[in-house]
Protein backbone atom coordinates (compact mmCIF):
# COMPACT_ATOMS: atom_id res chain seq x y z
CA UNK A 1 0.00 0.00 0.00
CA UNK A 2 1.37 3.37 -0.95
CA UNK A 3 1.38 6.17 1.46
CA UNK A 4 1.67 9.02 -1.03
CA UNK A 5 -2.07 9.18 -1.69
CA UNK A 6 -2.90 9.36 1.97
CA UNK A 7 -0.54 12.19 2.72
CA UNK A 8 -1.55 14.34 -0.23
CA UNK A 9 -5.16 13.95 0.88
CA UNK A 10 -4.09 14.90 4.31
CA UNK A 11 -2.59 18.12 3.05
CA UNK A 12 -5.80 19.04 1.24
CA UNK A 13 -8.24 18.34 4.03
CA UNK A 14 -6.32 20.60 6.33
CA UNK A 15 -8.34 23.06 4.26
CA UNK A 16 -11.50 21.73 5.94
CA UNK A 17 -10.72 24.01 8.86
CA UNK A 18 -13.38 26.67 8.74
CA UNK A 19 -14.04 29.43 11.23
CA UNK A 20 -16.08 28.16 14.17
CA UNK A 21 -18.49 31.03 13.60
CA UNK A 22 -19.65 29.36 10.38
CA UNK A 23 -20.79 26.28 12.29
CA UNK A 24 -22.48 28.34 14.97
CA UNK A 25 -24.34 30.36 12.33
CA UNK A 26 -25.42 27.16 10.58
CA UNK A 27 -26.53 25.73 13.91
CA UNK A 28 -28.54 28.88 14.60
CA UNK A 29 -30.27 28.66 11.22
CA UNK A 30 -31.10 24.99 11.84
CA UNK A 31 -32.65 25.94 15.17
CA UNK A 32 -34.73 28.68 13.59
CA UNK A 33 -35.84 26.42 10.73
CA UNK A 34 -36.79 23.63 13.14
CA UNK A 35 -38.75 26.06 15.27
CA UNK A 36 -40.46 27.34 12.13
CA UNK A 37 -41.45 23.85 10.99
CA UNK A 38 -42.73 23.10 14.50
CA UNK A 39 -44.78 26.30 14.35
CA UNK A 40 -46.42 25.02 11.16
CA UNK A 41 -47.94 22.25 13.25
CA UNK A 42 -48.53 24.38 16.33
CA UNK A 43 -50.44 26.98 14.31
CA UNK A 44 -52.45 24.16 12.70
CA UNK A 45 -51.86 25.45 9.19
CA UNK A 46 -53.65 23.28 6.63
CA UNK A 47 -53.66 22.51 2.95
CA UNK A 48 -51.16 23.62 0.34
CA UNK A 49 -49.61 26.22 2.67
CA UNK A 50 -48.81 23.52 5.25
CA UNK A 51 -47.31 21.04 2.76
CA UNK A 52 -45.22 23.67 0.98
CA UNK A 53 -43.85 25.16 4.23
CA UNK A 54 -42.96 21.70 5.57
CA UNK A 55 -41.13 20.86 2.34
CA UNK A 56 -39.32 24.21 2.13
CA UNK A 57 -38.06 24.04 5.73
CA UNK A 58 -37.09 20.39 5.25
CA UNK A 59 -35.06 21.06 2.11
CA UNK A 60 -33.34 24.09 3.65
CA UNK A 61 -32.39 22.10 6.76
CA UNK A 62 -31.14 19.14 4.74
CA UNK A 63 -29.16 21.47 2.49
CA UNK A 64 -27.48 23.23 5.40
CA UNK A 65 -26.52 19.94 7.06
CA UNK A 66 -25.08 18.42 3.88
CA UNK A 67 -23.36 21.56 2.60
CA UNK A 68 -21.88 22.97 5.81
CA UNK A 69 -21.77 20.28 8.49
CA UNK A 70 -20.84 17.49 6.07
CA UNK A 71 -18.52 19.83 4.10
CA UNK A 72 -20.09 18.97 0.76
CA UNK A 73 -19.78 22.61 -0.30
CA UNK A 74 -16.00 22.25 -0.26
CA UNK A 75 -15.69 18.85 -1.94
CA UNK A 76 -14.91 18.42 -5.62
CA UNK A 77 -17.79 17.97 -8.04
CA UNK A 78 -16.79 14.35 -8.77
CA UNK A 79 -17.75 13.40 -5.22
CA UNK A 80 -20.74 15.75 -5.04
CA UNK A 81 -22.33 14.24 -8.16
CA UNK A 82 -21.49 10.65 -7.17
CA UNK A 83 -23.31 11.07 -3.87
CA UNK A 84 -26.10 13.56 -4.54
CA UNK A 85 -27.38 12.42 -7.95
CA UNK A 86 -28.23 8.73 -7.27
CA UNK A 87 -30.91 9.59 -4.67
CA UNK A 88 -32.88 11.20 -7.52
CA UNK A 89 -33.72 7.61 -8.50
CA UNK A 90 -35.57 7.37 -5.19
CA UNK A 91 -37.69 10.35 -6.26
CA UNK A 92 -38.63 8.53 -9.46
CA UNK A 93 -39.50 5.45 -7.40
CA UNK A 94 -41.61 7.68 -5.17
CA UNK A 95 -43.54 8.92 -8.20
CA UNK A 96 -44.15 5.36 -9.39
CA UNK A 97 -45.37 4.26 -5.96
CA UNK A 98 -47.63 7.30 -5.67
CA UNK A 99 -49.39 6.29 -8.89
CA UNK A 100 -49.50 2.68 -7.72
CA UNK A 101 -51.00 3.50 -4.32
CA UNK A 102 -53.62 5.65 -6.01
CA UNK A 103 -54.59 2.61 -8.05
CA UNK A 104 -54.66 0.44 -4.94
CA UNK A 105 -56.93 2.94 -3.22
CA UNK A 106 -59.30 2.95 -6.20
CA UNK A 107 -59.38 -0.85 -6.23
CA UNK A 108 -60.13 -0.94 -2.53
CA UNK A 109 -62.89 1.61 -2.93
CA UNK A 110 -64.33 -0.21 -5.89
CA UNK A 111 -64.17 -3.82 -4.74
CA UNK A 112 -63.83 -3.87 -0.97
CA UNK A 113 -66.09 -1.13 0.35
CA UNK A 114 -69.24 -3.26 -0.15
CA UNK A 115 -71.17 -0.33 -1.53
CA UNK A 116 -70.88 -0.17 -5.34
CA UNK A 117 -72.47 3.26 -5.62
CA UNK A 118 -70.09 4.72 -3.07
CA UNK A 119 -67.27 3.13 -5.01
CA UNK A 120 -68.34 4.84 -8.21
CA UNK A 121 -68.67 8.17 -6.42
CA UNK A 122 -65.15 7.86 -5.02
CA UNK A 123 -63.80 6.87 -8.40
CA UNK A 124 -64.02 10.48 -9.54
CA UNK A 125 -61.45 11.98 -7.21
CA UNK A 126 -60.17 11.52 -3.70
CA UNK A 127 -57.52 12.97 -1.52
Amino acid sequence: MTHAAASDTHASHEGQAHPIRLYLTCWGFLFVLSAASYMVDYAQLQGALRWSLILIFMVLKAGLIVAVFMHMAWERLALVYAILLPPLAALVFMGIMLAESDYTLQSRATYLSGDPELAVAREGGHE
Binding site: S37, R76, A82, M94, M97
Partner: protein, 237 residues
Protein backbone atom coordinates in the same frame (compact mmCIF):
# COMPACT_ATOMS: atom_id res chain seq x y z
CA UNK B 1 -0.83 8.39 -23.14
CA UNK B 2 1.86 7.30 -20.76
CA UNK B 3 1.14 5.46 -17.58
CA UNK B 4 2.88 7.50 -14.96
CA UNK B 5 2.68 4.82 -12.31
CA UNK B 6 3.68 1.83 -14.48
CA UNK B 7 7.41 2.11 -13.89
CA UNK B 8 7.12 1.78 -10.14
CA UNK B 9 4.12 -0.46 -9.67
CA UNK B 10 4.73 -2.97 -6.88
CA UNK B 11 4.25 -6.73 -7.41
CA UNK B 12 0.57 -7.62 -7.12
CA UNK B 13 -0.46 -10.19 -4.52
CA UNK B 14 -3.21 -12.69 -5.37
CA UNK B 15 -6.20 -14.07 -3.50
CA UNK B 16 -7.90 -12.13 -0.71
CA UNK B 17 -4.75 -10.14 -0.11
CA UNK B 18 -4.91 -9.12 -3.76
CA UNK B 19 -8.49 -7.93 -3.38
CA UNK B 20 -7.47 -5.74 -0.46
CA UNK B 21 -4.37 -4.48 -2.25
CA UNK B 22 -6.24 -3.62 -5.45
CA UNK B 23 -8.97 -1.77 -3.63
CA UNK B 24 -6.46 0.09 -1.54
CA UNK B 25 -4.18 1.02 -4.43
CA UNK B 26 -3.49 4.41 -5.85
CA UNK B 27 -6.38 4.66 -8.34
CA UNK B 28 -8.48 7.48 -6.99
CA UNK B 29 -11.51 9.19 -8.45
CA UNK B 30 -12.12 11.47 -5.48
CA UNK B 31 -9.03 13.65 -5.31
CA UNK B 32 -9.83 15.49 -2.11
CA UNK B 33 -11.54 12.63 -0.28
CA UNK B 34 -9.43 9.85 1.17
CA UNK B 35 -10.55 6.25 0.90
CA UNK B 36 -12.03 6.35 4.36
CA UNK B 37 -14.06 9.43 3.61
CA UNK B 38 -15.21 8.23 0.18
CA UNK B 39 -16.25 4.88 1.60
CA UNK B 40 -18.21 6.55 4.37
CA UNK B 41 -20.00 8.66 1.75
CA UNK B 42 -20.81 5.58 -0.31
CA UNK B 43 -22.10 3.78 2.78
CA UNK B 44 -24.26 6.80 3.55
CA UNK B 45 -25.56 6.78 -0.02
CA UNK B 46 -26.67 3.16 0.40
CA UNK B 47 -28.22 4.05 3.75
CA UNK B 48 -30.04 6.91 2.02
CA UNK B 49 -31.73 4.34 -0.19
CA UNK B 50 -32.70 2.22 2.81
CA UNK B 51 -34.41 5.16 4.50
CA UNK B 52 -35.87 6.40 1.21
CA UNK B 53 -37.51 3.01 0.71
CA UNK B 54 -38.90 3.05 4.25
CA UNK B 55 -40.39 6.48 3.68
CA UNK B 56 -41.74 5.50 0.27
CA UNK B 57 -43.42 2.41 1.70
CA UNK B 58 -44.90 4.62 4.42
CA UNK B 59 -46.20 6.95 1.73
CA UNK B 60 -47.69 4.03 -0.20
CA UNK B 61 -49.38 2.61 2.89
CA UNK B 62 -50.76 5.97 3.90
CA UNK B 63 -52.03 7.04 0.49
CA UNK B 64 -53.59 3.68 -0.37
CA UNK B 65 -55.63 3.15 2.80
CA UNK B 66 -59.30 4.03 2.94
CA UNK B 67 -59.15 4.43 6.72
CA UNK B 68 -58.29 7.79 8.25
CA UNK B 69 -54.57 8.13 9.14
CA UNK B 70 -54.05 8.91 12.87
CA UNK B 71 -53.35 12.61 13.47
CA UNK B 72 -49.67 12.72 14.49
CA UNK B 73 -50.16 16.14 16.01
CA UNK B 74 -52.56 14.61 18.60
CA UNK B 75 -50.93 11.18 18.91
CA UNK B 76 -47.59 12.72 19.88
CA UNK B 77 -49.02 15.52 22.02
CA UNK B 78 -47.78 15.93 25.57
CA UNK B 79 -49.70 17.23 28.56
CA UNK B 80 -47.92 20.00 30.40
CA UNK B 81 -50.03 21.05 33.36
CA UNK B 82 -53.46 21.78 31.92
CA UNK B 83 -52.50 22.42 28.33
CA UNK B 84 -51.87 19.87 25.63
CA UNK B 85 -48.90 20.75 23.48
CA UNK B 86 -48.79 19.08 20.07
CA UNK B 87 -45.61 17.21 19.12
CA UNK B 88 -43.74 18.68 22.08
CA UNK B 89 -41.50 15.69 22.74
CA UNK B 90 -40.70 15.33 19.04
CA UNK B 91 -39.76 19.01 18.83
CA UNK B 92 -37.42 18.65 21.82
CA UNK B 93 -35.89 15.54 20.24
CA UNK B 94 -35.32 17.51 17.04
CA UNK B 95 -33.52 20.28 18.89
CA UNK B 96 -31.42 17.77 20.82
CA UNK B 97 -30.31 16.04 17.63
CA UNK B 98 -29.53 19.33 15.87
CA UNK B 99 -27.49 20.44 18.87
CA UNK B 100 -25.57 17.17 18.77
CA UNK B 101 -24.80 17.89 15.11
CA UNK B 102 -23.56 21.34 16.12
CA UNK B 103 -21.22 19.97 18.78
CA UNK B 104 -20.00 17.32 16.32
CA UNK B 105 -19.21 19.91 13.66
CA UNK B 106 -17.20 21.88 16.20
CA UNK B 107 -15.43 18.71 17.33
CA UNK B 108 -14.25 18.17 13.75
CA UNK B 109 -13.06 21.75 13.66
CA UNK B 110 -11.04 21.38 16.87
CA UNK B 111 -9.71 18.03 15.65
CA UNK B 112 -8.17 19.64 12.58
CA UNK B 113 -6.75 22.33 14.84
CA UNK B 114 -5.29 19.37 16.80
CA UNK B 115 -6.92 20.51 20.00
CA UNK B 116 -7.21 17.10 21.62
CA UNK B 117 -8.97 18.07 24.81
CA UNK B 118 -11.67 20.18 23.16
CA UNK B 119 -12.28 17.56 20.46
CA UNK B 120 -12.80 14.81 23.03
CA UNK B 121 -15.05 17.03 25.16
CA UNK B 122 -17.25 17.97 22.23
CA UNK B 123 -17.47 14.37 21.04
CA UNK B 124 -18.50 13.19 24.49
CA UNK B 125 -21.11 15.98 24.51
CA UNK B 126 -22.36 14.75 21.13
CA UNK B 127 -22.60 11.20 22.45
CA UNK B 128 -24.49 12.41 25.52
CA UNK B 129 -27.01 14.30 23.39
CA UNK B 130 -27.38 11.23 21.17
CA UNK B 131 -28.04 9.05 24.22
CA UNK B 132 -30.57 11.61 25.44
CA UNK B 133 -32.32 11.38 22.07
CA UNK B 134 -32.50 7.57 22.25
CA UNK B 135 -33.80 7.85 25.82
CA UNK B 136 -36.59 10.17 24.74
CA UNK B 137 -37.41 7.83 21.90
CA UNK B 138 -37.66 4.93 24.35
CA UNK B 139 -40.04 7.07 26.41
CA UNK B 140 -42.11 7.80 23.31
CA UNK B 141 -42.27 4.12 22.35
CA UNK B 142 -43.30 3.16 25.89
CA UNK B 143 -46.02 5.81 25.89
CA UNK B 144 -47.42 4.69 22.54
CA UNK B 145 -47.26 0.99 23.36
CA UNK B 146 -49.09 1.60 26.65
CA UNK B 147 -51.75 3.47 24.68
CA UNK B 148 -52.29 0.40 22.54
CA UNK B 149 -50.23 1.06 19.42
CA UNK B 150 -49.09 -2.19 17.81
CA UNK B 151 -47.56 -2.97 14.42
CA UNK B 152 -50.96 -4.43 13.42
CA UNK B 153 -53.28 -1.80 14.87
CA UNK B 154 -53.92 1.24 17.02
CA UNK B 155 -56.92 2.93 18.66
CA UNK B 156 -57.06 5.91 16.28
CA UNK B 157 -57.17 4.80 12.67
CA UNK B 158 -55.28 3.12 9.87
CA UNK B 159 -53.60 -0.09 11.04
CA UNK B 160 -50.44 0.58 9.06
CA UNK B 161 -49.60 3.51 11.36
CA UNK B 162 -47.97 1.31 14.01
CA UNK B 163 -45.98 -0.78 11.56
CA UNK B 164 -44.49 2.24 9.79
CA UNK B 165 -43.89 4.10 13.04
CA UNK B 166 -41.97 1.27 14.72
CA UNK B 167 -40.06 0.40 11.58
CA UNK B 168 -38.93 3.92 10.66
CA UNK B 169 -38.21 5.36 14.09
CA UNK B 170 -36.79 2.03 15.24
CA UNK B 171 -34.34 1.87 12.38
CA UNK B 172 -33.36 5.49 12.93
CA UNK B 173 -32.97 4.95 16.67
CA UNK B 174 -30.71 1.98 15.99
CA UNK B 175 -28.55 4.23 13.82
CA UNK B 176 -28.34 6.78 16.62
CA UNK B 177 -27.45 4.08 19.16
CA UNK B 178 -24.60 2.70 17.04
CA UNK B 179 -23.48 6.27 16.40
CA UNK B 180 -23.26 6.90 20.14
CA UNK B 181 -21.21 3.72 20.54
CA UNK B 182 -18.73 4.70 17.83
CA UNK B 183 -18.58 8.28 19.09
CA UNK B 184 -17.54 6.99 22.50
CA UNK B 185 -14.88 4.75 20.96
CA UNK B 186 -13.38 7.49 18.78
CA UNK B 187 -13.68 10.15 21.49
CA UNK B 188 -11.86 7.90 23.92
CA UNK B 189 -9.06 7.37 21.40
CA UNK B 190 -8.82 11.14 20.93
CA UNK B 191 -8.71 11.63 24.71
CA UNK B 192 -5.93 9.09 25.09
CA UNK B 193 -3.95 10.83 22.35
CA UNK B 194 -3.85 7.89 19.98
CA UNK B 195 -4.04 10.22 16.98
CA UNK B 196 -0.94 12.10 18.15
CA UNK B 197 1.11 9.04 19.03
CA UNK B 198 2.50 8.58 15.52
CA UNK B 199 1.47 4.93 15.67
CA UNK B 200 -0.35 3.77 12.51
CA UNK B 201 -3.77 2.28 13.30
CA UNK B 202 -6.94 1.58 11.29
CA UNK B 203 -8.20 5.02 12.23
CA UNK B 204 -4.98 6.96 11.96
CA UNK B 205 -2.41 7.01 9.15
CA UNK B 206 0.19 9.25 10.72
CA UNK B 207 0.85 11.57 13.61
CA UNK B 208 -1.83 14.23 13.88
CA UNK B 209 -4.16 12.59 11.35
CA UNK B 210 -7.59 13.42 12.77
CA UNK B 211 -9.59 12.58 9.69
CA UNK B 212 -11.35 9.75 11.56
CA UNK B 213 -13.16 12.43 13.56
CA UNK B 214 -14.49 14.02 10.37
CA UNK B 215 -15.58 10.62 9.02
CA UNK B 216 -17.32 9.87 12.31
CA UNK B 217 -18.94 13.29 11.95
CA UNK B 218 -20.24 12.45 8.48
CA UNK B 219 -22.11 9.47 9.91
CA UNK B 220 -23.47 11.51 12.78
CA UNK B 221 -24.70 14.37 10.57
CA UNK B 222 -26.35 11.80 8.34
CA UNK B 223 -28.35 10.50 11.28
CA UNK B 224 -29.47 14.08 11.91
CA UNK B 225 -30.24 14.49 8.20
CA UNK B 226 -32.49 11.41 8.16
CA UNK B 227 -34.36 12.78 11.17
CA UNK B 228 -35.10 15.98 9.22
CA UNK B 229 -36.99 13.87 6.67
CA UNK B 230 -38.71 11.67 9.27
CA UNK B 231 -39.78 14.77 11.19
CA UNK B 232 -41.25 16.37 8.06
CA UNK B 233 -42.96 13.35 6.57
CA UNK B 234 -43.97 11.24 9.53
CA UNK B 235 -44.67 13.77 12.26
CA UNK B 236 -45.68 16.95 10.45
CA UNK B 237 -47.36 15.70 7.26
Amino acid sequence: MTDATAHRSPPRPNGLEGVAADWASDQRAFKTASWGKAMMWIFLLSDTFVFAIFLISYMSARSSTEVEWPNASEVFALHVGQTELPLLLIAIMTFVLISSSGTMAMAVNFAYARNRRRTAQLMFATAALGALFVGMQAFEWTKLISEGVRPWGNPWGAEQFGATFFMITGFHGTHVSFGVLFLLIVANKVRKGEFDSGRRTWLCREKGDYEAVEIMGLYWHFVDLVWVFIFAFFYLW
